[in-house]
Amino acid sequence: MSPAPFAFEALEAALPEYEIRDVPLGQGADKIAYKANKDARDVVVKVLTEPMPEDLDSLDTLELPDRIGRELAGMSNVQSPHVVSLLEKPSIARLGNRSYLWYVEPYYPGGTLEEAIEKSQAGARLGQTVLAAMLRAIDDMWNQARIVHRDIKPGNIVLDNDQNPILLDLGIAFHSELTELTDAMGVSPRTPRYAAPEQFELRRLATIDFRTDLFLTGLVAYEAYTGRHPYFEVGIDTATYLNRLASGAPGVDDLLRAGCSERHARLVVRLLAGRPSGRFRTVALARRMAGEG
């Protein structure tokens, strides 16, 4: 972890209403996250590592890096019990001789889904909870703000005090009103092990919609039920992996052995259909099959 571009004492002084821990929770390419407490509630204070322009008049005119802009827009526009929200909107703080953008998110003490799976907590209970929560999250993101998360993976799902799954990191979310983010090859951004088949294809913007998130929910739900990824295994080469993805969903056997009900097993397998048209044409239909909504 590279050192913060500002002194911790400056951050403490700039945000006196927060009791901030000096050891960061984590640091990404764009921001540093600190656990903090305000009014007896644990929160996460996030500070961008890139200083703001000195001639900035107003936050309204600020041009944020794409990923940060999308993440903040997503958190502002979606109200969902299973999608991370902003507790405090972005503001500018003077830290030393430069200005930095900061904002506040809730703190989730239950760890990530990835950690829960590593601790062998996978099973019917975790699987069903994750399945229902992610379907609700997708429903809310798509129907409130036409957002496709595109990066639903165990490391981006945290558990709150009551073990409710919360989806984090809308940094590569696709907003249907915004320009598409692509990499140098024109491919949709993704985490390879947690990507839908269409995210590996070029110029597939037309079919990147909530159904891409349905596929990703199928992946994480399968893993939450069984403790293993439905397609990936150590040592597998890329071509074989992509072939598995495209050749269709795994069967229900492993899910049933993990204690998944037959109805939910069929749902998870359908979410993993290789083509968007093989999933569900509305989130409501998927939630209905899940017994939710």
Binding site: A273, R275, P276, S277, F280, R281
Partner: protein, 390 residues
Amino acid sequence: MSLYVQHGYGKANKISEAARYPGTVGVILSPGDEDEQSLSMTIGRALQDDLRVLIDPQTYVYGLSPGGSARKHAQNGIDFGSIHWSDDLRTIERRVSAVGNLGDRLGISGKMIAPSGLQYSFADVWTPLAFQYARTAADMWGPDRTIATIAIDEGALDDWSRVADWLDVATTLDVAGFYLLVARQRGTYPAAPWSGARLSNLLKLIYSLAIVNEYEVIWGYSDIEGLLGLAVGAQGIAAGWHNTLRSFTPAKWQPSLSQGGRPPAARYFLSNLLSPLRAEDEVSLLYRSRLREEVFTPVDRERFSAREFDSWTRPEAQSHHLAVLSEHAIRIVRLGAINDRVAYLRGLLSNASHLFATAKTAGIALPGLYQARVESFAESLDSFVREEYL
């Protein structure tokens, strides 16, 4: 109930007769054949018979090359002259509005079929236009009232990857359902056997729309092939009195040098063969053979116990055809689960194929078309089952 009468023109009392068949659910009317007054009378009769009424706006007529026409469209306010894949949104809105206005004048308060052009592939320049017609109609009439038209040439079904790409987009349409039309080459009746993977891909398309994505799918002009559509999830199939209403052939709307000809021979729909054979010679030949008990149902045998096949009239044949189709349709639909429907139909096809083979062995000379059709149906169903992992 799942059979629609694909109506052209003629007396509405024929529709009333079809309404008595147990599988008949509605009628699809042709504004190209009837003016507003006739349509209105036909609708009134159909509603009295508790039939659902749909109107095919037949806009695909105007995208044909050479251009097509329909003689009553102008009187119905839906003669669009020609449509082009580059038509702008305002033009599309005007046409959808004209179709909607016709529906309003005729008192159609339920679902309406949206206009569309004919697509020769699922990736040609007409595809975006077809989507735009559906979206515009859903916007104007409401998603719950809109049935999008998919009018395609059968060649569009050759490449499944193209169909699958199209499905990924089509399933984003917020509409109630799809009115599916598959253009086949103009030819004899019954239509030629399906080639290659076309029918199998069509069944996969229907399954994806109707079962996976829960749209209402009505396969127009589908006739006997429609039974396969019902087996894989379509909610409606359609066939009419005449051969031209049992196969979607856009050529009938195009200029033709044909001077007409002899009226077609009366056919008899042999339920056990799933085929309409010529009554006077082909059916008669089978009836006089040792295969009578296997080929003819007790009802068939009773019917011809005291009359000759040359006394079988065309009006009788027309009515009987829809009655048998309706019976098959309702039996399939009542089975419920797709696996059961497919297994049932596969059994019927297997039996029909066996009977044709036995007839051949027995020296009964029937045109190979019938057996080839039944076998192409069976192959397509088998392929569908394999590819959908049913």
